[in-house]
Amino acid sequence: MERMPTVFNYCPRDGRPFRVDEQICPLCDFQSLHAPWIQSPQKAPWRKLLYVRQDYPDNYVDDTFLEELQKNANVRQYEYWSVVLESTIITQHISSIVIFVAVFIYLLNKQLSAHALIIIGTAATAIGYIFWDWSNTMLTPESNFQRRKIFKGAALFFLTLLGLTPILKTLTVTTSPDTIWALTVILFLANLSFHDYGSDNRRNIKYPGSLSTNAAIFASVVLASRFETNLHVFGLMAFAVEWFALFPMLRRQVRSVSIRGNLALTIVLFLTATTLFTRISAAIVVIYILGMAFVTFVCPFWLIWIQRYKNEIHGPWDEARPKIQHGRSVDYN
């Protein structure tokens, strides 16, 4: 029986239309002038189509089965040292919490005067602000900061804080110390877990970040009730705001400006935390150092090792993500 070769206007394997000058589909080498019996005289090759009756059983498995399967298509291979470097984001945050706790203990034991804390805090904030302002104008020269607005806001905020100090002092004064310590630990854990480590954008207004900051500020409000004078309360609260609301912004800025600066900042924070705590508890220092080492050196190794079990499967059955122009972006995943 003589058969005419089938002329395809489209490729049956991938549905790509053939142009007039194309003999072979550039995607899968399928010939537009298809005469399969030249290759196999008995049977036409199986095609992944439902609308043709094919001379194959329904459970036939072709060689092309799972051809479109992609494994680990979007997986990023990690490098040990770059992960170590990235882990500084976490260690910096842990260090800053430890330092804050240390400062509180010093203040409570009267080893640090409230005056000194306020002065150091203000000076550090000023230096930090100058750096932040300078690097921002360097990075994005066209953006105009409203410096006056920032200063006005800062002054207003600290005056309000000063005014609220007596209230904050007596807010949780009747709560027993045990409750306060336990609550503080929980709140700092919340701060640690909900801190926004990931996003690099400097104008960060995401919910997880604010939850974390609120937890830290609430922890300091709770702690502030352990002080006797208003000045102490104000000192700690001001420090908390600078330390948990402003300092993370500065750290993010440092990270985006220079890697070395970031590393230096990590080491400085680490050394400060260690020295401050050596006078309080040696056991905590040991735990702290071990924890830092674990996060910095063991966890990256662990992450890279566990990558081998990564098995990401993609294929034509995946839900497509619609691309919509004109600013109406829709992303549910």
Binding site: N9, Y10, P12, D14, G15, P17, K48, L49, L50, Y51, V52, R53, P57, D58, N59, V61, F65, L66, E68, L69, E312, I313, H314, G315, P316, W317, D318, E319, A320, R321, P322, K323, I324, Q325, H326, R328, V330, Y332, N333
Partner: protein
């Protein structure tokens, strides 16, 4: 046939079950359907040609699906199966926990099992991961699986770790005679684009919202008929408000029996789904004589011959371009969609589906029953921890069965009489003839 989804609920699975059962009855098999109770529709109902439906009283939790009861369903299931002398249990749809349970219990009772998967799942979102684990559990010890498209087969094989040889591809079908084209219903002055789908995110309604105003701006003689309902309805209404398209975009929900009459009013059918195992909607539209424009996702490229369908990527620009091409094709009369019906009648018929399903049944009836220990071994392979858990569940299931055999002995269960289909058919024919005679008189 077991599934949570059956009439009066409307949908693809429901009609699949009904039509497949009808064709199997016509081929001389006895078919019953087990589903859960819908409102006050409980107990046993008889449908056309003696298709018996058991509405088992189980609580419904979400979108007509029942919660997993583990063993709660077993006693009633066993009674039904014994009463009706069932030899093959065929479960439908992975969402249905009733179907999973039925398959496990049927295996315990030594019956043959089969499963049809109607949808696609990814591998990355939490609900799919849980679903896939369940599926792996039930399908560890199944005789055969049926999928509706080749893409769906690949997906199911991966999800449930099956041998691909145990998975058959049997597409859905349409009753082509119910979707006959009717060019007189079309408005000759304008090109009408019809969209009929559930209005949800997965059906790509965001794409539709973006595309409709652009097409309307470009062509003054194009109208849209958007049928269906769902959470994205509001977005579509807002789009219509914002672009002042009240006279050109028809929105409204339609009932299942109105689908054909809506379809024939248009020349082009638009499908914007983001994932689709088979998409019966585009087949129905092509049957009704519409040129189809569809996103190229899942099993859609397998469904229609190239001259009936235009593909687009699930992107706004590409979709607009494809619609423009289709409008031009219609206006220049490059295609004759009215002929699609005849071509599709051959391709997707329920008789064909029933024939192929029958082949699957015949094949699984030939297979040997594995002993319990063999079954346990296959469940054990599911995972380090889950494997053991599954084994415990299966062993308990087995013991429960033995207990049921003792407390409710087999021979005390009354056997239901078979529905005399042939006699019924003859009676129907006689009645028809009498009617005709009366008319003639």
């Amino acid at each position: 046939m077991v599934s949570d989804f059956f009439y009066p609920n409307a949908g693809g699975v429901e009609s699949h079950l009904y039509h497949l059962s009808q064709r199997l009855i016509q081929r001389g098999h006895k078919v019953i359907i087990i589903t859960h109770a819908y409102g006050n529709r409980t107990g046993i109902r008889c449908l056309t040609n003696g298709l018996k439906v058991y509405h088992v009283p189980i609580m419904v939790v979400f979108q007509e699906a029942t919660p997993p009861t583990l063993y709660g369903f077993f006693p009633i299931f066993r009674s039904i199966v014994l009463r009706e002398q069932i030899s093959i249990v065929h479960g439908h749809q992975a969402f249905s926990s009733m179907c999973h349970e039925a398959i496990i219990h049927a295996r315990t009772m030594g019956l043959k099992t089969c499963f049809t998967d109607h949808s696609l799942f990814g591998f990355s979102d939490p609900s799919s991961i849980v679903m896939n684990k369940f599926l792996k559990f039930t399908l560890s010890d199944i005789d055969h699986v049926v999928c509706v498209s080749h893409t769906s087969k690949e997906n199911t094989v991966l999800r449930a770790a099956l041998t691909p040889q145990n998975v058959s591809v049997i597409p859905n079908a349409v009753i082509a005679s119910r979707f006959t084209p009717d060019p007189s219903m079309q408005d000759p002055n304008v090109t009408t684009i019809v969209v009929i789908s559930r209005q949800t995110y997965r059906k790509g309604m965001d794409l539709l919202v973006a595309v409709v105003p652009r097409i309307c701006r470009k062509y003054s003689k194009v109208r849209f008929i958007i049928g269906g309902d769902g959470p994205k309805r509001i977005d579509l209404e807002q789009m219509r408000e914002k672009h002042l398209l009240h006279d050109r975009v028809d929105l409204g929900s339609i009932k299942a029996h109105e689908v054909r009459n809506t379809l024939v009013r248009g020349q082009i059918f638009l499908n914007t789904s983001l994932t689709e195992a088979f998409c019966i909607g585009i087949v129905e539209a092509a049957c009704a004589g519409l040129l189809v424009v569809s996103t190229k996702v899942g099993g859609v490229p397998e469904v229609l011959p190239r001259h009936m369908i235009l593909f687009a990527k699930p992107e706004e620009d590409d979709l607009v371009e494809a619609i423009e091409r289709s409008i031009e094709m219609i206006q220049r009369k490059e295609v004759q969609p009215a002929k699609f019906n005849d071509e599709l009648k051959e391709m997707y018929s329920w008789v064909n589906v029933a024939e192929r399903t029958e082949k699957v049944y015949d094949a699984i009836l030939q297979t040997r029953d594995p002993p319990l220990i063999e079954r346990l071994r296959s469940y054990y392979g599911c995972g380090v921890f889950v494997g053991k858990l599954f084994c415990i569940m299966i062993a308990l299931d087995y013991l429960f069965w033995v207990y049921l055999e003792w407390i409710l002995p087999r021979d005390e269960i009354e056997i239901a009489p078979k529905f005399p289909y042939k006699k019924f058919k003859k009676m129907c024919q006689r009645a028809d003839k009498e009617d005709e005679l009366e008319h003639n008189h």
